[in-house]
Symmetry: C2
Subunit: 756 residues, 2 copies
């Protein structure tokens, strides 16, 4: 590492520097000195950028529109007056909402001052900051006690850090507008103690690798950049100096506070991002974490170009934006892996930041311009200008999402997420590591989408973010009792116990491994992964293929799950389909009263709505969702119990959605194989009332070989044509040569799988 800060500088010395710097500034301001003009703003706007923007104004439609929206918003705020209430509430409550609103308003007003050169915005920012200064100097800890790290403006430090990340930008924008005395007052009574509270005073929040800490680091670093405070900048980049925390302590979510002692912004880049840019908590939290990563990086890029922050770890910050965009469905909604709230999408403002910064500081990918156009908004800064000019000059091209494998882990060796895309079908195969405190116990699970609609769902989190009536807007107890449990996911649960016994410590020490990922043949997209230790002496391997075959209207999914265990177990294998049951080829009975399926590990939240057995070689189940038909064909054992379940038992506050699953239960079994196909087919319109291709095209799905080295299926369609799919269970490299005899016919191929 090149960057080596002089951590020995003491605060008095720093203050002296600051003072002299500020004095110079004041003079400069009056004299319109170029150097002074140049040094602020410097975080997201630069002096040169501001000049360019002003020169282009009126001539860059998406920028002009974004500016107009912000101007109207802020003018209305200015008209309604400043409110800086004494902190009191949890998320969703009045004081919380107001302070949250204020950080947005301050940031935007600061930017408006720079772009429009209208002092009313600077004055507004100054006036509000002064009210914060007056309040903050005597402000005690926030009265609400639920957080592991209480803030002062908010019930949790995290929100205080959010505030400072935004407000640093506002301060940067009006820095030159303020007098030295005003700056002193703000820095001494507000910004410096604020930065200290969320860092040295709250090490359990600040000193770790976690999205919370990233906000903390960025907040401290950004205000450090504005104040030119090297100590704060160092604290931001490397963590609190010489601090050791108890490595066994846990946070509210059950995550370790600081297991390996790493901390600071660079560690927060290093640890959670894989070399492919996958963020270990998943896209929902990546979206949340992106903003501080990127705006602080932008500031560092501008003020400390030698750090080459955008090249850090082989450019992982920009790679992560590409990964994040690929972790969204056809509508731009992020896949709700781990604790993800559904509906969060790349229309979120954090993604406007991500897309604009990625375009400006990256390789000017024309696909990003299309997303920016859809967002219909750009940042009011240098990067937003670049995007606006790109769009204006007609450079936009479609952002083409293809199949992609994203490794997980700091070195890309802790599993990953494979997204198989084939026409309108998207399959999200999660073989990632624990995902920090926001992880779910769902190894080798997957979810399925068609045209942005969930077909086989991942439940996501159990939380109504920022809706105060629901547990203060925080995680609900059902997040632990239901959403994180294995049975809440489309994977195998053994003996009604979650993976890793539902224990974070064990989960964190283990992860699946990619077996292979193959997307070269655009008609046949396949991925396979293995995991050991989810259960004692049990190995699982799942192979998923999305195949477009000429005999089928749409791509179909093959799902092969192998379980190897040294003792007899019960296996439960659910499919959380969304939509309305159409029919089955097996008989089932419905109970007169609904009872919970079990008493713990998520089972206590499932009602049993039906119970059947299949007499056929394939159990078939069709459903209708959002005007599209689906059929699950599962190779069934006559002893398999087929359960229809519905979420909602023991849900005393109606926190869970009443959604359904079909579940295959296989008892008293050691090694076993679950094989299914899922077809998407046809459509139904309630307007024309026409049902097109409403039936399955699969006559039979059959295992034709299953050895340690190979598993092969025959897929026979209604018109009698038959295809063979063979997956290599061991030697599955792209170059591996295989010859296999099945029913006296030789199959020879090179690569991971065979399909013909």
């Amino acid at each position: 590492m090149k960057l080596k800060s002089s951590k020995s500088k003491n605060i008095i010395f720093l203050l002296l520097i600051m003072f002299s710097f500020s004095c110079t500034k004041t003079t400069e301001k009056t004299n319109n000195d170029v150097k002074g003009e140049d040094s602020h703003p410097s975080l997201i706007l630069t002096a040169k950028g501001v000049k360019d923007i002003r020169a282009q104004l009126g001539n860059i439609p998406i920028f002009d529109n974004s500016l107009q929206v912000v101007k109207e918003e802020i003018d209305a705020e200015i008209a309604s007056g400043i409110e800086v209430p004494i902190p009191k509430d949890y998320s969703g409550g009045y004081t919380h909402v107001r302070h949250k609103r204020n950080w947005v308003v301050l940031q935007k007003a600061g930017v408006l001052y720079q772009i429009l050169n209208d002092e009313k915005y600077a004055k507004y920012v100054k006036d509000m900051l002064m009210q914060y200064e007056a309040m903050y100097r005597t402000l005690p800890l926030h009265p609400k006690t639920r957080s592991y790290a209480r803030g002062k403006l908010f019930w949790q430090c995290l929100n205080d850090a959010n505030w400072l990340v935004y407000v640093s930008q506002a301060y940067d924008c009006i820095y030159n507008y303020l007098s030295e005395e005003e700056r002193n007052k703000l820095e001494t009574n507000l910004f410096k103690p604020f930065a200290d509270h969320i860092s040295v005073d709250s090490p359990q929040f600040y000193q770790r690798v976690h999205n919370h800490s990233t906000w903390g680091n960025a907040a401290v670093g950004m205000i450090g950049l504005v104040m030119n405070d090297e100590e704060l900048i160092d604290r931001a980049l490397y963590g609190i100096k010489d601090l050791k925390l108890d490595t066994e302590e846990k946070d509210d979510d059950g995550g370790f506070l600081n297991k390996d002692g790493k901390a600071g912004f660079l560690a927060n880049i290093e640890e959670p991002f894989s070399p492919d840019g996958y963020y270990n908590e998943g896209p929902y939290y990546q979206r949340y974490a992106m903003y501080p990563f990127l705006v602080f990086a932008e500031g560092l890029h501008n003020v400390k170009p030698d750090l080459k922050i955008f090249e850090y770890k082989e450019g992982v910050l920009l790679k992560s934006i590409n990964a994040l965009l690929n972790l969204s469905d056809a509508d731009g909604d992020f896949f709700p892996l781990n604790d993800g709230q559904k509906g969060m999408s790349y229309y979120n403002d954090a993604l406007v930041t991500a897309v604009d910064i990625s375009y400006h500081f990256g390789t000017q990918d024309a696909g990003l311009l299309t997303i920016a156009s859809e967002q219909n908004k750009v940042l009011l800064d240098d990067s937003g200008l670049a995007v606006a000019l790109g769009i204006k000059n007609g450079k936009a091209k479609p952002f083409d999402k293809k199949s992609i494998n994203l490794s997980d882990g700091p070195e890309g060796k802790q599993g990953g997420v494979a997204i198989l895309r084939n026409k309108d079908i998207e399959l999200v195969f999660k073989y990632a590591s624990q995902g920090s405190s926001h992880g779910h116990y769902d190894k080798l699970s997957y979810s399925l989408y068609e045209k942005g609609d969930e077909v086989i769902q991942d439940y996501g989190l159990a939380r109504f973010v920022n809706i105060e009536q629901k547990g203060g807007g925080n995680y609900l107890k059902e997040n632990k009792t239901w959403a994180k449990q294995t049975i809440a996911h489309n994977t195998v649960t053994q003996n009604e116990t979650s993976h890793y016994n539902g224990e974070y410590e064990i989960g964190s020490q283990n992860h699946p491994d990619l077996h292979y990922f193959s997307s070269d043949n655009k008609s046949v997209q396949v991925s396979s992964a293995k995991v050991a230790n989810t259960y004692p002496n049990t190995d699982m391997q799942r192979t998923l293929a999305v195949i477009k075959d000429e005999d089928f209207e749409k791509p179909f999914v093959l799902d092969i799950m192998q379980v190897i265990s040294n003792k007899a177990n019960q296996y439960d294998f659910p499919y959380y389909f969304l939509g309305q049951v159409l029919n089955t080829n097996f008989e089932y009975t419905i109970p007169k009263t609904l009872k919970p399926l079990g008493s713990k590990n998520g089972y206590q939240h499932l009602f049993v709505e039906g119970n059947g057995k299949s007499k056929e070689s394939n159990a078939k189940f069709s459903w209708l969702n959002k005007g599209k038909f689906y059929t699950l064909s599962t190779i069934s054992d006559t002893k398999d119990e087929i359960l229809f379940t519905r979420i909602g038992a023991n849900d005393s506050e109606f926190n869970l959605r009443r959604e359904a699953a079909i579940m295959f239960r296989r008892k008293n079994t050691k090694n076993t194989l679950f094989v299914s196909a899922i077809e998407a087919h046809g459509s139904y319109s309630p307007v024309s009332e026409s049902a097109i291709n409403s039936k399955s095209n699969i006559k039979e799905l059959k295992v034709v070989i299953d050895t340690a080295d190979y598993t092969a299926l025959a897929i026979t369609t209604l018109n009698g044509s038959s295809k063979i799919f063979i997956t290599a269970n061991t030697n599955a490299s792209n170059e591996a040569k295989h010859t296999l005899k099945i029913n006296n016919k030789n199959y020879t191929w090179v690569g991971s799988y065979y399909y013909k």
Copy 2:
């Protein structure tokens, strides 16, 4: 009536006429005689219209586009060849779908022949008709036996009639193209016996007032118009001559086959339409019935102008289109009153017909052009040309849906439907009569919408129309056991028994009456209706108001239900809210196992998910649906049981949607009053994660007076302001003067209600 057909003409005489007419035609065709050109086409296209269309082609965008779409569709069909399979399947099955497709294709190909003057289309129609002719002459009844009136091409006569309504148009279009011999062959072996089968051979289908019969009448009449067969035309207009049916017999849906002996197209206009144009079965079936009403009317208008069909019953056909368009929500989806399938909307092709015909033959309402633009499609006929020219000439204006009261009954004296519209809120108050065999037992029920999203739902029907896997696409048994029952609706059920004891005979003899409807004050929209005899010795009156008050962000609903009974009863009063429970101000418990609420009358389909009691004067319940918040505030008796229910018990084939209600149960009570307010408030975005105005603004709702003459409520908001709403229970005319003393204050007003 002017039109008096010579019913004494016998068939031989008719045939002679036809022959001679046809001979003339053939000659004319060759000679390009003007009269011959003029007499065909004559149903939806006229010779003059065809000339005008041809002259405008290429210059009328929406028409040109519609034509292009149809041309591509039909060219593809022609390329794939003709299929006329032997009938075999129920709805959704292959032969059903194919014959259904054929009627569409034939009609369109005929129209293309006229407009494009390309013989390939005429030849295609002729060839397919000849295949039908070859098959039909020996075709037995359809093999499926479920219908009360089996067809030949389809399992039910109804679909045969659909076929003929469309195919008559195709025949009309190629009439002049065919030789006399070809016409003879088709008419003798196909059209005449076809018309006879669905009429004289199926009187239980044909000879009644019912949407099925309307199709039958139109089919017979349209082919009669093309064939110039006065006997068929008479049979269409007046029913089968001298036929008497058993007035006690019932159809598959439980409706009387022909209780009062009325029949024929004119009776089918007379009976089901009220003077306001409300169709007694509701909008879903009106949409279905509209097409034959309108295309046959169009044909009659062209061929029999003296009949003045569009002026019949004071222009009710065109009025009915306006009524139908007003029976849709903000998205154009029809309110699912009675047996209505959700999602059916004015984008349905029948509504393209309705809108175009209404524009052309009506008063050229500019609002219709906007709907036509949204439909993005016009009829390829004279009326479509008129609409296309209107749009092209910039005449379109918004179709402004206001509050509207639609009377029900042939003379408008059998109740009705009131739609209260106030900003984005729509309330559909159903106080209509039984609604024929498709009626539900839901007197004084209502449903609530915001911006086209259901808030308090009407369940609609229990059927998956045309989805063969679900009961052949027909009505499911749960339509009777659940969807029609009173407890499935937002109204009062007494003693767990449906209105009129769930008996069609009693339901058909009774109906509610409008008390008042007041929409003059755009901030306060109110309607009130009464009903007797839903239960023995019980009267009910419901008053619903949608009020926009300055103290509220959005309009709120007041709901006042009075029940007067001479003995003690149990009353159940559900609200079928859609969305996720947020919170309540009362405590409730959830059961460990879910049991059905009852054993019959719909109660067997409801699970009890929660049970509470309110200690406060108002029980409050908030929920979140599609990003919008709602709160129900109900004046509660401490003895009221508050139940959370969910649909789905005893649903052995998963035919019902698992949706919820909150239900107030009041036991052992004679007269009583249920009073509630429903507020729509705020919004939630999963993208910005901001919850705006998520809480109720009502501090208390209180009854301040309740007498035989008046019921008055005080609505107090959180900021302490209080308003009074008084409804006149007796003398409620617009001119009525009222003075009332409440808590020593005098209230004086003129009209049905007071609000201030």
